[in-house]
Subunit: 316 residues, 2 copies
């Protein structure tokens, strides 16, 4: 019988569905109380420090981790590669939330919310704001053309935005007006008012948005990071804003997280900050469980997985 | 030769197009300097106190006012009715901006921006926020099903929102899942998480969102007013929030405007305030002039208008 360590909540109904497949559900409390040995766990649903402990247990029998996130850079991927642990992620289910967060960040600046909030402490009501743009007169360049980017592009296109994308090869993607290879996107960048990073956290993307990148920008409206905090060099971003290369930024991710008190980003009033919640949703379990269940149904038959498999070596 | 008082800016190119129709362009400065008599003005493009002065000039020859707004409640409509002055509005051109503002207000609360801003002064980065909803699990009830409401409904539907509308008769409208008559919308209200007012400012809508209305609400997420400030009784709204009938509000309009210092709304941290800019756009002139020009082309022929005519007696 497969042992599934549930580090992400399962409803009573979901627990029954798992048991009906002949899978035993184990909790962190079961491990702590030695009712089940960490070395007996085959499957982990979710992730936290207990997952780390299982993966580091000698002679463990971990075979598969189903994450609650699209990005998997927080997992011990090198260890998994050695141990042959498979990973499936939550790619797809965060797309709507993140795409809607991106719209929220854009409209925060283009619909005068930012300006109103700046003036509110002085109780200053003034029927004006800078940069009151309508979406159809803006152009957005998205780094990344995966599930999340496609959903963002779909919504932006519905409002008449010109949407361009950047990916490895420059291959086309649904809802994108045009796409560029990451080695040659200068023409796309020149047209863009708004730049969005949704690239996964990999060695290639670490520090990508640095002085060299920001120095290319001239009077851009907004830079949004919903990818990984490591992709951006914060001091270089702040310099770009101070120098007028860029007016505003919205950062849902920073590095390291949690962001510490005293970080200069806190007091930069041209930067909107959210605490890595662009993809968080109150009812995630209702969207995540179907992925687990579809994979689990196959896994109990032949130890293979059918949906959202991650290339552990590549990291996404 | 018709005399057009330009109270809204015309570009050099637009001025030439007007002149080519055989219409003379008059400015406020021309009136102030008595180069043209206020009583000679036939057409007003835009509106301000100079327009009021023209309308009140004895034996004036004012025939038509082309506004820059969709709502026309700030015009002396009774006087216009008496004088037979026609009014055309800017209905349609603000729809995209206002619909996008509505999305901005919704995502401000459902994508954790509000919570992040509340915690920012304390430099508190915490990966959580209340009410992190995805659009497809929400239901929106819009009071009004005109141009602006239809554009809002179109965008909301693209994200899977359930969209209901309220209008006079309950007649159907594009992109609305269902519509209710204003005399009988209880069933629609029961389903709604988010309530949006886009009704015009008329005697019927004045004070509509009062204690009686808010007392019907139970644990609603958000009330948005992009209609007219007069539609809402602010103290009743604040009480509804304090009592938990409603969590948040976003008010783009208040009464009177400008909102004065010391107004208790300023310090209600559950209410987002913007200064009547939901429909304001930097490049309005490029969207407004085509309406003026199309009407003017007909008007010089036979004093009739072809687009965006307002029923002066009804007020919208």
């Amino acid at each position: 019988m497969k042992q599934l360590l549930a580090l992400f909540p399962l409803t009573t109904e979901q627990q029954q569905q798992v048991k009906d497949l002949g899978v035993n559900i184990v909790t962190s409390a079961d491990l702590d109380a030695h009712r089940v040995a960490a070395s007996d766990i085959n499957i982990i649903y979710g992730w936290d420090k207990t997952g780390v402990a299982v993966a580091n247990t000698a002679s463990n029998q971990l075979q598969w981790v189903q994450t609650y996130s699209a990005g998997v850079d927080y997992l011990p991927l090198d260890l998994f590669a050695t141990q042959g642990v498979q990973v499936t992620n939550a790619s797809g289910i965060h797309a709507a939330a993140i795409a809607q967060s991106i719209l929220g960040y854009i409209f925060h600046f283009t619909r005068g919310i930012w300006a109103a909030e700046q003036r509110r402490p002085q109780q200053q009501w003034q029927q004006s704001a800078p940069d009151l743009l309508v979406a159809d007169e803006t152009s957005v360049l998205i780094f990344g053309t995966g599930h999340i980017a496609v959903e963002a592009a779909r919504l932006l296109k519905a409002m008449g935005v010109h949407v361009a994308g950047v990916n490895h090869s420059g291959h086309s993607a649904d809802y994108f007006d045009e796409t560029y290879a990451i080695t040659d996107y200068t023409a796309g960048l020149a047209k863009a008012d708004i730049i969005v990073n949704i690239m996964p956290g990999t060695p290639e993307t670490t520090g990508y948005f640095n002085k060299t990148f920001f120095d290319q920008l001239t009077d851009k409206l907004l830079f949004i990071n919903v990818g990984r905090g490591t992709a951006v060099v914060p001091a270089d971003l702040e310099t770009a804003i101070a120098n007028g290369n860029l007016k505003y930024a919205a950062l849902d991710v920073v590095s390291p997280e949690p962001m510490q008190k005293g970080n200069p980003l806190w007091t930069n009033d041209h930067i909107l900050l959210t605490p890595h919640i662009s993809g968080v949703m109150d009812h995630l379990d209702q969207r995540l469980f179907p992925i687990l269940f579809e994979n689990l149904t196959q896994f109990v038959k032949d130890d293979t997985l059918v949906r959202n498999q991650v290339n552990v070596a590549r990291g996404y």
